[in-house]
Symmetry: C2
Subunit: 133 residues, 2 copies
Amino acid sequence: MATATEESARRFIATLEARDWDAWTSLMTTDVVYDMPQTGERLHGRDAYLEFNRTYPGEWHLDPRRVIADGDHAVVWFAWTLRGEDGEDGSGDAQAFFDFDGQGLITHVTDFWPEPYDPPTRPAGLAFVSMDD
Amino acid sequence: MATATEESARRFIATLEARDWDAWTSLMTTDVVYDMPQTGERLHGRDAYLEFNRTYPGEWHLDPRRVIADGDHAVVWFAWTLRGEDGEDGSGDAQAFFDFDGQGLITHVTDFWPEPYDPPTRPAGLAFVSMDD
């Protein structure tokens, strides 16, 4: 099952990136639940989830960085870029966690969209370097 | 290998929560790299990583929500609470991604700490509900 769930998680991102909505919706159950814990929002159902993504404003792109899967769950850590309709561009890393049913269909998606923040003051002696170094 | 990496990821959180520093450091290589993409900071080495966690201010607790692992990688999605020394308390969900070497030791940790934000304006007709409903 690990291979099937990993493949499904990869296809989830790839079909989103391709705006291949038929292929994307074929990966999930009709009553899939989509959770956004950072806003506390939840969407019920494939139709609403499709409409949410299809109408999401701006030009966005997703590029998978890491896919980890076992038989019942998977995660994709992906890089995103957005060219917003309001001229506000952005980029970053995000994570999508998936639950699967016994037929390998996605029943639940939970997204996290971490934002950059300034490093807090760190204790002296801890040799932090930049990730770019 | 999936079981071993899953167990290692679980023990990473459990030994942090227990402040069992010997057990925690035994899970990783001496030259482990710790990345925090949201601040762009990187720490090199087990000693610096231990010092970072051992001296982290406030009373913090970690509770795993989901562990997903394959042979070379794992992720833990965990809930955290912090009672800060400055009286600022907090809680949320975070994710730690792990890379493993051939001996099952952690070589790389990448943390994400997503923060809550206000829901943006959503298109009319999309029936968002609260995750608490």
